[in-house]
């Protein structure tokens, strides 16, 4: 699984951080950081994060 987050769309709703805290976090400057290639153990949580993002900023590459 490879993912990208459109940081221009991201408005720091934080829903991805709640859904997959091992993959998404905010740094001290309130910028979202994330692992673009999360381990398989995190894939379900990442899919939950995709569904939870109110602005649909998270894209899974190669998955529809």
């Amino acid at each position: 699984m490879t993912m990208t987050v459109d940081l221009d769309l991201c408005q720091n709703h934080g829903q991805c951080v709640y859904a997959a805290p091992e993959v998404f976090a905010f740094d001290e400057d309130e910028i979202l950081t994330y692992q673009p290639e999360p381990p398989e153990s995190q894939h379900d949580k990442v899919r939950a994060a995709v569904a939870a993002c109110p602005v649909r900023a998270i894209r899974l590459v190669g998955e529809s």
């Binding site: 408005q11 720091n12 709703h13 934080g14 829903q15 951080v17 709640y18 805290p21 976090a25 905010f26 740094d27 001290e28 309130e30 569904a51 939870a52 109110p54 649909r56 529809s64």
Partner: protein, 406 residues
């Protein structure tokens, strides 16, 4: 895998759509019907008081994406009139009677209307897309906008007006904006934001009545402190009422919302769950452990999404459903300041300021009830919320739902 052949989802907004998608994701292959009283396909409401007013969004830009393969029959523009639980049927305003094997009730809530008999032309609510289209058309040309109610919605509309350079008067009956949902610290912070952006903020007063000219067009309002406000456009932001009237006579408990158990199942008058029916979104009230199992309802985006998924699971896999005990969260954007919350701040009896920096518009407030942490709210400090959220999650995973009663 499932004996259900037809599921009717009543309500075609966020909760209804996400419930339908969850049903398909869980392998439901039967007939799926979505009923909605608005003529529109599901759309997203948060942008209606933001991008739709400020960034020239077209209505189609608010559309919620519909998952490919949903394979649903849409019955749009038709209000629902009655639920017959024992006959497993939903009655629609056009006379249709839809039999169901399973039903998802997700009719949401509507804007609380003006309590007076009539209002002049130019007074709007802003909950639906059709409302927002009217406001978006009128707002850039308004001489002055009057907003009644300084909650999240009213505040966002005031901010949208100011971003367009439109003078705005914001009237709030409480002593601070957001006092009930977020307490006095946030209230003072938000009041300062409004005033810094030129909003004429009137606190502790109500609109007694609107005034109009001979053509019935809005000219302003009289306030309860005896002052008058001039305005040619007004937005009512008085909160929401659950759409439960159509459930009268169904035998289900409707008391400030559709009363459900923690598995999203509506309850009969005698307290038993009704068969083959689940509910999700703004109309539902259910017991939440974070609230000491008091009934709560949450008109939040994330609740519509999460409760819809939980409700779908109850319908399809009632034996393995874990119970719906989410960590609530909501957000609001004001003048570029990002307000984010977890937990249930509105139930707090006391709140505490952890951080307050006016120059950076930063705020961190915690909420407590009976000495226990019950919520947190930040402004421009979303990074500080995750630990609070994790603590609520731990608390909730330590509370085990009772066995699913039949």
């Amino acid at each position: 895998m499932s004996p259900l052949r037809r599921i009717v989802v009543v309500g075609a907004s966020l909760a209804g759509l996400r419930a339908a998608e969850a049903l398909r994701r869980s392998g439901y292959a039967g007939e799926l019907v979505l009923v909605g009283d608005e003529p529109h396909l599901p759309y997203d409401r948060p942008p209606l008081t933001k991008q739709f007013l400020n960034d020239g969004w077209r209505p189609e830009q608010t559309a919620l994406p519909v998952a490919p393969g949903l394979d649903a029959t849409w019955r749009l523009g038709v209000p629902v009139t009655r639920l017959d639980v024992s006959a497993h049927a939903v009655h629609l305003a056009d006379g249709a009677r839809l039999h169901y094997d399973g039903a998802v009730l997700a009719t949401g809530a509507r804007a609380r209307p003006w309590p007076g008999p009539t209002t002049p032309t130019g007074v709007h609510t802003i909950r639906g897309l059709d409302d927002a289209i009217q406001v978006a058309k009128a707002l850039p040309h308004a001489g002055r906008l009057l907003i009644v109610g300084a909650g999240f919605l009213g505040g966002e509309v005031a901010a949208a007006a100011r971003a367009l350079g439109v003078p705005a008067t914001l009237v709030e009956s409480q002593d601070w904006p957001l006092l009930a949902p977020a307490g006095p610290h946030v209230g003072r912070f938000v009041a300062a934001l409004h005033r810094a952006h030129g909003v004429d903020l009137r606190l502790g007063v109500r609109v007694r009545d609107f005034t109009g000219n001979a053509r019935g067009e809005l000219t302003g309002a009289e306030l309860t402190d005896g002052t008058n406000v001039e305005a040619d456009l007004a937005v009512l932001a008085l909160g929401a009422k659950p759409n439960i009237e159509w459930l009268a006579g169904s035998g289900l408990i409707t008391d400030g919302g559709l009363v459900c158990d923690e598995y999203c199942r509506p309850l009969w008058d005698d307290g038993r769950p009704a068969p083959d029916v689940v509910a999700a979104g703004d109309l539902a009230r259910w017991p939440h452990p974070l609230a000491g199992n008091e009934l709560i309802s949450l008109g939040h985006w994330s609740n519509a999404v999460e409760q819809a998924t939980a409700a779908a699971q109850t319908l399809l896999q009632p034996d393995t459903t874990p119970g719906y005990r989410p960590v609530p969260s909501f957000w609001s954007d004001l003048y570029g300041v990002r307000m984010r919350s977890v937990g249930l701040p509105h139930l707090a009896d006391v709140s505490a300021v952890i951080e307050h920096d006016d120059s950076k518009h930063r705020l961190v407030v915690t909420y407590h009830r009976n000495g226990q942490l019950i919520g947190a709210l930040t402004a421009n400090r979303t990074s500080r919320l995750a630990p609070f959220r994790a603590e609520f999650q731990r608390h909730l995973s330590g509370t085990h739902p009772s066995a699913l009663p039949a």
